[in-house]
């Protein structure tokens, strides 16, 4: 068994309501919401007209005009956030062998926004079946295959080790960090720049979630539209954003005196093999992922101080994961604080798993658990402590963060202090 352990030493975040980790954490601890009526295009033809949008200016955040021109918004998020994470880590990347630095970027839907608007142009508003290549942007191939996100990120930090995009739908953000941690653990690399990004707020995304009534139609009250675990919730709120981490091997991080936010102590992913969008109410596969992740971290359920829920705000999800927590954590599920930051920053598909890891690591750093905003009238079938409305001071040494997504993917990650005592 390998003795290499993996820790988070740098964090970068872009989320609705704030660019940068500091603004993100203020939003969460103040329990503010960043959901609003969609401003990127006229949402009035759509059933759901609400989203959590980030106020982001790529050039203001250091991208050159050429970088801005050739990249989708999601790639821009990744580059800016990777730089923030690298700076936050204090690691001198120029002093590390580039071959020993790798990149994993999670994304559920890649450059879907760029593709949406490009299709509109080359098809002349949907009129041409044989779309016109002479109107295509030169970087259309980089929208076509989203591994361009990993390429841009690798260039941003000078990585020449393995680079890839992880795309497992809405668990991508957990799976990309899990994959990155595995590469460090097995010794393929010493440093990983790992995280996830998505910028899906475009007509095609809104339309496709409208079609299955997955997103909320609470258009008259956008600020309070994302209501996980609340009895009045009626769908998720689309979001966007990115979080990226610097992952390092524990001993080398200690040697250089790095700030260690948390160890990536356990991770597992399972499939429900049930339905592309449906969930079985018993939460069996998510519970299994949590169980295996705890096992890998060598922690009992009772050691978990905080559960960062998927908490998308669909009735199906909220009941599914409540069942999964009871199944995997036993009685402790009723005692441990569980919250969903999607109540504040929406559901940014593949990115949110990484953004939630950031929230979990920051909860450990600050001893504060973020709340579930808008939770006024709990669903009687969701009977755990979801930390309603107000952040809570709470010493947090170990966290479980979970994700659930289309395709049936269920993932769980355990973050813990490296110096913890294990079961």
């Amino acid at each position: 068994m390998s003795s290499r352990r993996v820790v988070i030493t740098g964090i970068g975040v872009i989320a609705p309501g704030g660019v940068g980790t500091k603004d993100f954490w203020s939003l969460l601890t103040e329990g503010r919401t960043a959901t609003r009526r969609i401003s990127f295009f006229d949402p009035s033809p759509f059933r759901s007209q609400v989203a959590a949008e980030a106020d982001f200016d790529a050039e203001l955040h250091g991208l050159t005009p050429q970088e801005v021109r050739r990249t989708d918004r999601a790639a821009q998020f990744a580059v800016v956030t990777a730089r923030e994470a690298a700076a936050d880590s204090g690691l001198e990347f120029t002093g590390v062998d580039p071959h020993r630095v790798g990149v994993t970027v999670g994304s559920a839907v890649g450059a879907t926004t760029g593709l949406d608007w490009e299709y509109r142009t080359v098809s002349d508003g949907g009129r041409l079946d044989l779309v016109d290549h002479t109107y295509a942007v030169p970087h259309l191939y980089d929208y076509f295959v989203p591994s361009s996100f990993a390429a841009e990120t690798a260039w941003a930090v000078g990585a020449e080790g393995p680079a890839t995009v992880v795309s497992t739908g809405c668990t991508s953000g957990l799976d990309a960090v899990g994959h990155g941690a595995e590469l460090v653990r097995e010794g393929t690399v010493d440093v990983m720049v790992a995280g996830a990004t998505d910028a899906p707020i475009s007509p095609i995304t809104v339309a496709c979630f409208d079609a299955i009534k997955a997103t909320t139609p609470r258009n008259d009250d956008p600020e309070h539209a994302s209501r996980p675990f609340d009895g009045t919730r009626n769908g998720f709120v689309l979001g966007e954003g990115c979080a990226v981490f610097v992952l390092e091997e524990l001993e080398s991080a200690r040697r250089r005196g790095a700030r260690i936010y948390a160890e990536v102590a356990g991770y597992a992913s399972r499939c429900n093999a049930y339905h592309m969008t449906g969930l079985r109410p018993d939460g069996r596969e998510m519970a299994e992922a949590v169980r295996v992740a705890l096992d890998e971290a060598r922690l009992n359920p009772e050691a978990i101080d905080y559960v960062n829920a998927h908490g998308s705000g669909t009735k199906q999800n909220d009941r599914h994961e409540t069942a999964a927590f009871k199944r995997s954590l036993g009685e402790h599920a009723y005692r441990v604080p569980v919250s969903s930051i999607k109540s504040m920053v929406g559901h940014s598909l593949g990115a949110i798993g990484s953004i939630e890891i950031a929230a979990s690591a920051l909860a450990m750093e600050h001893g504060v658990v973020p709340p579930t905003a808008n939770l006024h009238t709990p669903d009687p079938e969701c009977d755990l402590d979801y930390v309603p409305l107000t952040a809570r001071e709470h010493r947090t040494d170990a966290v479980v963060s979970v994700g659930s997504g289309f395709g049936g993917f269920q993932s769980a990650m355990v973050l813990a202090r490296p110096e913890r005592s294990t079961a």
Binding site: F144, A150, C271, G408, F409
Partner: protein, 406 residues
């Protein structure tokens, strides 16, 4: 456990043959699947050649409710997974669900499905977008659908590294198996031969504009002028060697013995390309000297600058004309995420039969000091082969496959 991970089943769908046996016969005989695009009228586009799969009938193989919910690439992937499992003699229902997983490579998702829904959106309005769009086009669709169809609930995933992704997926599957999972379906299948996918691929600037199917895709040739895109790929059943032997699998094609992946330095940095290192890492991981490799299945970009990087990497590792190099993909076109898994299947069959398939129509330019297997297949008692794959942007991956007998 030895940690050795082997391939026991192959599911292949290629423009020159559907099913491993038909494809392998075509690859050995130099039968090409490249021709003028027939799926739509290509005359208005600068590139008109493609490798199309003909005669694939989704309705004959899949439940009628599934067909309208899935893109062509997913239909081909589901049938290929069925073939691979049947070939391996595995009935998924007989294994514990958490002991089986699916790790595929993606590239552009169900792009043709997405094209139809984008057309509905922009020509008719958002309310005309299909309820299936949300899960028919995204990159995770093939892994998800294969998992559902076969009740596989173990560790799974989807990796995207353009044309290198298929090797990364197989390496990830190997990790999961070494971590204790008994069986993984891995590989990749892609199909984006629709006008919208065509325009996106044209934007890469890497497509051949030739109209001659025999002269369209000529890697390492002085006349190299880009590649021909195709559709299809391969899915492999992978499991631990011990478990394959214990259950008396019908065959063990070979071992996924070594893997290496690197990313090229940023253009303009002045640093050397990283392909050679990926090959070296794969050889080291396989614990083999270059002399142990009997054939190299090249990435074969067919652009002079990229062919030069590849031939130099091969020459530096194996010596001038030190190893037979082949590119059977000139008969299929480049299959995005499906190409490298198809090369893995081809390499395993080459090792099984002692035949290196040919690279028809290519005459290597003098500047490349490589031993390219020409128009005829070459007999060889090879025990191991190297598969090289590169993705747009700088992705380099390499896998060593090796015979397991003895």
């Amino acid at each position: 456990m030895s940690g050795r991970v082997v391939v026991t089943g192959l599911g292949v769908a290629a423009p020159n043959g559907v099913g491993a046996a038909d494809y392998w016969a075509a690859a050995r005989n130099g039968t090409s699947g490249i021709g003028r695009l027939s799926r739509f009228d290509p005359s208005g586009y600068p590139a008109r050649l493609a490798g199309e799969i003909t005669g694939f009938d989704a309705d004959a193989h899949l439940p009628s409710r599934l067909v309208p919910q899935t893109d062509r690439m997913t239909q081909i992937a589901l049938v290929s997974a069925d073939c691979a499992l049947a070939d391996a003699g595995v009935r998924p229902g007989e294994l514990p669900d958490y002991d089986m997983g699916v790790v595929t490579a993606g590239a552009s998702g169900g792009f043709e499905f997405g094209q139809g829904e984008l057309r509905n959106l922009w020509s008719k309005g958002g309310q005309h977008v299909s309820a299936y769009q949300s899960f028919a086009w995204f990159y995770a669709v093939n892994s998800g659908q294969i998992s559902i169809r076969n009740g596989m609930r173990g560790p799974s995933g989807v990796l995207v590294s353009d044309q290198a992704g298929g090797l990364d997926a197989v390496a990830q599957a190997r990790r999961h198996i070494r971590g204790g999972t008994r069986l993984i379906v891995s590989g990749g299948v892609d199909a984006s031969l629709c006008p919208w996918g065509w325009v996106a691929q044209l934007a890469s600037g890497r497509l051949s504009t030739s109209d001659d199917p025999r002269r369209g895709y000529l890697p390492f040739d002085a006349a190299a002028c880009g590649h021909v895109p195709g559709e299809g790929g391969a899915l492999l059943v992978m499991e631990p060697l011990e478990s394959a032997r214990q259950r008396q699998a019908p065959q063990v094609y070979g071992e996924i013995a070594g893997y290496g992946a690197t990313f090229d330095p940023k253009p303009g940095s002045g640093r050397a390309p990283a392909l050679q290192r990926a090959i070296e890492v794969a050889l080291e991981d396989a614990d083999t000297e270059p002399g142990g490799i009997g054939a190299v299945f090249a990435d074969a970009a067919a652009l002079p600058a990229l062919d030069r990087i590849e031939s130099e990497a091969v020459t530096k590792v194996f010596g001038p004309r030190g190893v037979p190099v082949t590119a059977p993909k000139v008969l299929t076109g480049r299959l995005n995420s499906g190409g490298a898994p198809l090369d893995l299947a081809t390499a395993l069959l080459a090792v099984r039969d002692g035949v290196i398939p040919p690279t028809p129509h290519v005459t290597p330019a003098e500047e490349y000091d490589i031993d390219l297997v020409g128009s005829e297949p070459r007999r060889s008692a090879l025990r191991a082969a190297l598969v090289v794959a590169r993705g747009h942007g700088g992705f380099n991956s390499a896998v060593v496959v090796r015979a397991c007998a003895g």
